[in-house]
Each structure stands twice: as structure tokens, then as C-alpha cells.
Amino acid sequence: MTKRKPGAGGAEQGRPTGPRGPARWIRDLCLGARYAVAGGREGLLRTALTAVGVGLGVALLLLVASVPSALADRHARETARSVGVTGEFRDPAEPDARRGPDTLLYQEVRTDFHDKPVTGGLLAPDGPDAPRPPGVDRLPEPGEMVVSPALAALLASDRGALLRDRFAAYRTVGTIGHAGLVGPDELLYYAGSDRIGPATGAKRVDRFGYDEPDVPMSPVLVVLTVLACVVLLTPVAVFIGTSVRFGGAGRDRRLAALRLIGADLRMVRRIAAGEALTGAVLGLGVGAAVFLALREYARDLTIRDTGIFPSDVMPTPWMLALIVVAVPACAVGVTLFTLRGVAVEPLGVVRGTAPRRRRLWWRLLVPALGAVLLTPALGRASGRLPGMPGLPVDTWQVATGAALLLLGVTALLPWGVEAFVARLRGGPPSWQLAVRRLQLKSGPAARAVSGITVAVAGAIAVQMVFTGVRGEFDTSPEALATHSQLTGSYAVGSPRQVHDWVDRLRRTEGVRAASGHVERYVGKDGAPNTVTSVLVGDCATLAELADIGSCRDGDVFLGRSDDPGHADAFGPGTKVVAEPYTEGPARPYRWTVPESARVVRTRPGPTGEHPDGVLATPGAVDAAALPDARTRLSVRTEPGDPDAIERVRNTAAGIDPALRIDRRGGVVKDDNYPLVHRGLLLGAGGMLALIGAGLLVTTLEQLRERRRMLAALVAVGTPRRTLAWSVLWQTAIPVLLGMAIAVAGGLGLGWAVLRLTGARGADWWAFLPVAGAGVGLIGLVTLATLPVLLRMTRPEGLRTE
């Protein structure tokens, strides 16, 4: 016999008993799920809004979670085709493979086409078993090449006509597959060659896939990246939290009805959880669909000049699992948390009547804790703290610190809004309506804008730090780069050959001037740190470099520009030595500046530089005996002919594919900076759109809830513009407050990071674009609500039948 609870009425006898334990949970959750999808048009709309909101958040989460694996996949394919460094910058300590049937000679060659790099590998197999680069089915013979699909398309297009000339010596015999490409638009080719050898900088390899040490990211960049991630992810979390509250009032009324027919409080919470869970699970589906659609655009995003394969954009399984579990759990958590503030009673929902006074101390504690965590981490990043020079940054510490600091802004906002609006008085009816609404209930408004506040604060900080530290990574000012000044460098070349090459370059259409010489840095014998350049060329070449007057083979000149002190250390009789850069068969070249050497004034070359140093004719200095000497070419093209540079490159490729022509004075930057900057801008754009959508939905929901009252106000003669203004004020007051906190917080955080990292200067106006975008967003949201407001305020809203 079942023991009855004391006080239970006799009516309980024979009453059907429901499931117990987990079965009861499942039953209630399923009931909630049914309410989510079977609540009529309004219910479906509410669930759809939640699903779309959560879905957008999930899509952004999936995209962010895909970044590490996308970069790892790229890196893996890049490593798989690597043979280490070839050419001028080879590490002399790295030995080549021993020649055998399974080896080949490989030389990397690079050119550019309209500022996009075209990378190539010249291959000369030593035997039938020579390794093949990834994605290549057959090694090309001399005169053949295999190309990436993007290069094939470019060569076949009208746009690539000039590039076709450069590859005229090769016949395309195949396409490089996905496994051999870093990105879908990469311009890559492998060509067979019988002209490469160790002298040209080629390297003998027995395999592809040399491990290249990762270049560690600058600690300052780590801090920036972590900040950017927090900036992006915090609003997503806020947005997901907001999304699961869509239609909260309707849900509470339904729960009250359930209480009326006997549901207890726990049951009601489980049902609410089931409803939220359904919206979140549907949101996961929507998010997956949006993610799959968005990742197709990855090929348009460029990282280091190359797009991303959409198939690379996929989160790691554990990241995916985390999102799949965390998002529904977050949805349920938020729902149960909001139910905490209301009493769902059989006769209706009673909100916590005694307004809880928001306390400041813990809201200040959160950002303070963040600052405490960030300070030593940032000190380490800059290496400014004593005893900790340049230590690697503790990513988790920075992430936690930055997150707490930014979340502190979110925590401060409701208090700030409440404290501010409590002091507002007077004003026209529209202002009064808005202010009273905020005074009564500022929480939803503050919550709605908290996401944008965090985002704006973070984006301002990152932008400020970014502009502050950026200058330190630029090695030469952009202003020096001119489109008409080109330089070329090549490993070999006798003065005679150089003369011929310069002649060919001069004859190229669009070239205004060209010069070239063999060059080598030499040190003073016995004082190796005192160096100058020895430039070897025939009399005609040297006459272009300086006012040499009469010249015969065997003459030497001491070239000086206006700087009289230059090259004084290398006067007549000076013994100079050129030590080989690498160990090997090359021997040091020793030579004495002859007494007959005359001081001459150098002329600026085609690129404006004075070729100061020792100018020698081939009869005086044997260029072929100078170890590691380089051929230096300078070209100036007609400024109004943008294709001239491509024609120069074509000529250079005809001389030798390894002769690379670059623009002079191109800015050398840390490659990661544009990456972080682009990521930040893209993320900020997506996040602002997300926040805008959330704000719009929240405002529309508020209007829907107040439809009857709005209609009544219009019925008694309230002008619609009064109501429109009240909606605007209602949105604008918390948003402007949020922006003020965000600007202050963002500038403060940015300033602190800059100060701690020791970077120069601070862009105090960095907040303008982001803050402007935020304010613009509010305007857009308000404008977007107006049509709905007008519809809601139609007198028809008074009808009940």
C-alpha cells in the first residue's frame, strides 16, 4: 500500500500518477518543446525569432571557432610543400640532400603580377624517383609547367595577357591539386628546368614537407588578438542571451495558465527550459546553415595575399562539441535565471515588485579584477617589467583580464542607466514617456545595448592599440614607395652579362632608365666592421654611376656623393677583403685599392640612390672571384604606364626566372597586422549587424507588448510623432550612455595597453569610426521600428473581436 502524504485529501485516491524522475523531466521538456512549435502564429514567430537570433550567434561562433583550424590546415599544406629556404637567403648550416635517383634540384622563384605574388618552383629531377610536390601528378620536363587553377585562369584571361609573355617559355601540362595549394586563388606554378644548380641558389632535396619553424606571434599581437576575440565573442554571448528571452511575456502568461491547471513551480521551470531548449536547438540548425552559407565567402578573404578554401573553414571537433553543448545550456540557464525574477502564479505573472537596488561595488569589482590580471601580462608582453624581458604572454590570463574588463562595462551599464535616468525630470511628453519607462524598467534597455557597449569599448581599445603599435612594424615609410622605381637582384652575372641585361631592360617598352652592376660588400682587412660596397662594371656602366671622366679597363674610382666623409676609410692603398657568407668551396677575395684610384662624384641612379663605394672595372676586380656577389639592377619606368613594370618583369623572366623585380621602397610589415586588422573589421561589422538585429527585435517586441496601450494613446489624440520620439529617446538614452561608458572604457583600456607595451603615440580619435557606427546603428534601428510603430498605433489595435 502506498503511504499517503499527511494532509493529502481523499480525492488523491485513484488519481492517475504521472511519470517520475527523469521520465518526468523528459515529459516536461517535451511539453515545452511542443509549446515552442505549436503555439499558433505568435508562438511560431517567437520560436523563429529565437532560432534566428541564436542561429546568428551560433554562426558567428562557428566562424570564430574555425579560424584556428583554417589557419592550421593552410599551414599544414604550406609545410607539406616546403623544402626550406632556397636562393639568396639559404641557411649555410643546412646541408643539401645527397644526389640520388630520388632527389631533385629545387629553386623557388617569385615574381609579382599587378602586386599579387606569383610563386614558382623550378624543378630539375636527378632520377626517376624524384619526389613530387603535393598536388602534382607528374614532374614537368624542362619547358613544361604545372599551374594552380587560379594561375591557369589568369593566363587564359585577357587580364593575364602580359603574364602570358612571362611564361611563354613554358607549356602548361597540368594543374596543381588542392593538396598543393594554400588558398583557392593562389598563383603557383612548378616548372621543369635544366638551368638551375647550386650556383643559382637551387637546393637538392629528397622530399617535400620540411618543417619550418613557426615565427612566433608578437606578444603585443597576441594581446590584440585575444582582445579582438573577447570583443567579438562577448556580444555574441549577450546576443544569444537576449534571443532566448524573445517573447518572454507571452511565455510567462502561458506558464501562468499551466499553473492554473495544476502545474507546480518546478514543472513550470522544466517546461520553460524545454521551450528555450527547442529554440536553441533550432538555432543550432539555423546557425549551421548560415555558417555553411557564409563560409563560401571565405575564398574572398585574403590572408597573406591568398584566399581561404571554404572547406578549411570548419571548427575542430571539440570546439564544435563545445558550441553544440554550451549554446543550449546557456539558453536554458538564461531562461531559468529570468524566471527567478518573476513569480508565475495561477492568476498571472507577478514580477518582483520591490525593485532591487543595483549595487555598484561588485560592478566595479569586475573591471578592477580584469585590470589586475591584465597589468602583469601586458608588462610581460612589452618586456618592461624588471626581470621579465619579453616573456611569452599567458594567453588565458590576458583573455580573462580583458573579458572581465569588458564585461565590467556590461555590469556597469545597468547601474549607470538606472542612476542616470533616476535624475531626469521634465521635458515634453515624448521625453516623459521614455524617461518614465526607463525609470520603471531600465533593465531590458540596458541589456539590449550592453552587447554594443562591450563591442564598442573593445573595438575602440583594439583600434587604438592597433594604430599605436602599427608604426613600429613598418620598416620604411610608405611615402618612399613609388610605382616607377624598381630594383632587381640576382645571384650571378658577369659585368658583360649585366651590361647586356641592362641593355635589354632599357629596350623594354615603358622603361625610362636602367642601370646594373655587380655588387659586393667588402670589409677593411683587419677591421671587418668597416665596410663599403665594391661595384664592378665596365667603363660605360661606371660612367652612368659617377662622373668618372676618362676610363680604361683596370681603372678604379672612389665614388662619393655630397657627403664628403663617405668612403674615406677606403682610400688608395686600403686592403679590403670579401669573406664568403657560407662555408664551402668559395675562398675569400683579397684586394688592395690601387694608388691610382680617383675620387669621383656619384650620380643618383634610376631609383635616386647614390652608388657610393669603390667603383671598379672588371680589369681591376675579378667579379667572378668575388664570393656571393650579387647583380643589382635598377630600373625607372614611365610613371603613367602601369603595365611597364609587368613588361620589365617579363624581360627579367626572359633573362632568368630567378631574377625578381620588385618595387623599390615597398613597406615591409608584420604580415600578421593586416590579418588582425581585417579580422577585427570583419568581426566588428558582423557583430554590429548582430547587435542591430537584436536591438531591433527587442524594440519590436516591446512595441508588440504595448500595442493596445499605444493604440489607446493614439485614440485619445496622441500624435504618432510623439510616440516615435518616445521610442527614439527610449533607445537613445541607454545607447548614448552605453557609448559614453564604452568610449571612456575603450580609450582607457587602449591607453593602458599602449602605455604598458611601450608603444609610441595614441590615436585619441580612434573611437570616432566605431562610435559613429554604433550611433548610426541606433538610428537605423529606430528607423526600422517606425513602420511597425505606425502599424501598432493604428486605431484597429483597439479592436478586441
Binding site: Q432, R436, R437, M709, A715, G717, P719, P795, L798, R799
Partner: protein, 228 residues
């Protein structure tokens, strides 16, 4: 034809909501100081008639004339101005702004008409006192009883000294005691100010406060004067 001396009249009103015909050639008139009860079953078109008379809804056909002006020809802005200054409204529920205090709610039409806050609230307080809800002046609608809230709504309707008061089921959400109290105050104040009252109700008890009753059935209006 417009009855002589009428303050507000309607002739041949037609109004449909989709396929549903709410008003079908309806005529109506009310004189200054007269209280007319509009009765009828749910869905008969009572509220639609009130909305058309008040210029809230534009009829599909027919004319509404107020004090010699054809209401149906006025643009929305002028009809709104008329509702603000000349008409007063009491609805069944959902009419008070929950964020504003009772005195602010009652003063709202005056504020909308451009009166300064203190002046508007002083006038509103006068009406709250007359309707015995001055104690609730600083409370919000959610903090007062239904009867008190409805009296605040009546105060709001009377504060502009309207010439016509439209009351749509003003006691629908109240118990009989509170309902009677509200009706007594409303009709007494209206008679005192010689305001006409159009009272939509389906309760005979409420209709008993009127001078005349009309019945709306299937969209047509039937005057009950002399029917008994």
C-alpha cells in the same frame, strides 16, 4: 439626414473588416449633454460605431458630422487634434500608460495639448480629487485597484473639458460596486459640463445611466426611444 441640434451625428455608415461587415448603413446622433447608450451583442459593431464617431477609424462609406464639420473629410492630424481637445475617452482596459503615475496619466492630454507640466498636473489633480482617487496620484496604474484605475481614466477623459465623451465598456473589467461608482461619477461630471456621452455597453445596468439607448445589431443601429 442630420437631426436638428445634434452635436455629433452619423449618416449611412458602412465599415467592413475583410469579409466581415461591422457597420451597414448605420445612423446615429447625440445632443449636447445627452448620454446615449449603445448596446448590442458581442461582435455586433458597437465599438466600430464608436471608433467611427470618434474619428479613430475612417468609415468605408457615410459621413460623421461634429459641430457642423464633416469629420470623415478631415485629415488624420486634424482628427487627432479634435480627439485631443474636444473628445474624451474611457476604455475597458489597456488605456493608462503603466510607466506614468496616475496624475501624469490624467494630465497627459493637457501635456499633449501643450500645457506646462505643473499647470496640467494641477488640473488633473482637481479631477482626481473629484473622482476620489487623489490618494493614488503618485502611484502607477499597476499599483492601484481596477476601480481606481478606471476613475483615473475617467479623470483623464474629463481633464480637457471635452464636449463628447466616448466610453467603451468602461465598467467591463470592474465589479458591480466599482462599476456603479465609476458610472455615477462619469455621468454626473458629464451632465455638469454638458458633455455628450456615447456609452458602449452590453450591460442593461450600465445602460440605465443613459438618457437614451440604441441597439446595434448586424451593423445597423436601431433607436430604442419609444420602443417600450
Amino acid at each position: 439626414m442630420i437631426p436638428a441640434g445634434s452635436l455629433l451625428s452619423a449618416v449611412g455608415l458602412r465599415k467592413s473588416y475583410g469579409p466581415t461587415r461591422a457597420l451597414d448603413d448605420a445612423d446615429f446622433s447625440v445632443h449636447p449633454g445627452e448620454v446615449v447608450a449603445v448596446m448590442g451583442p458581442s461582435g455586433s459593431g458597437k465599438s466600430t460605431l464608436l471608433h467611427c464617431l470618434a474619428g479613430i477609424v475612417r468609415p468605408d462609406a457615410g459621413t460623421v458630422t461634429y459641430d457642423g464639420h464633416r469629420l470623415t473629410d478631415l485629415p488624420d492630424a486634424e482628427r487627432s487634434a479634435l480627439r485631443r481637445g474636444e473628445f474624451g475617452f474611457v476604455f475597458q482596459f489597456g488605456q493608462l500608460v503603466p510607466e506614468l503615475t496616475c496624475v501624469e496619466n490624467a494630465a497627459l492630454p493637457l501635456r499633449l495639448a501643450g500645457l506646462r507640466r505643473k499647470e496640467a498636473e494641477a488640473k488633473a489633480l482637481h479631477w482626481l480629487e473629484r473622482l476620489d482617487v487623489a490618494d493614488a496620484r503618485d502611484q502607477r496604474p499597476g499599483e492601484v485597484s481596477g476601480g481606481q484605475g478606471q476613475r483615473v481614466a475617467v479623470a483623464r477623459a474629463l481633464v480637457t473639458s471635452p464636449r463628447v465623451i466616448f466610453a467603451d465598456e468602461p465598467t467591463g473589467a470592474l465589479d458591480s460596486l466599482n462599476g456603479e461608482r465609476v458610472m455615477e461619477l462619469l455621468t454626473a461630471a458629464a451632465r455638469e459640463t454638458r458633455a455628450a456621452v456615447v456609452l458602449v455597453t452590453h450591460e442593461s445596468r450600465v445602460a440605465a445611466y443613459s438618457d437614451r439607448e440604441v441597439i446595434v445589431r448586424d451593423g445597423t443601429v436601431r433607436d430604442m426611444a419609444g420602443v417600450l
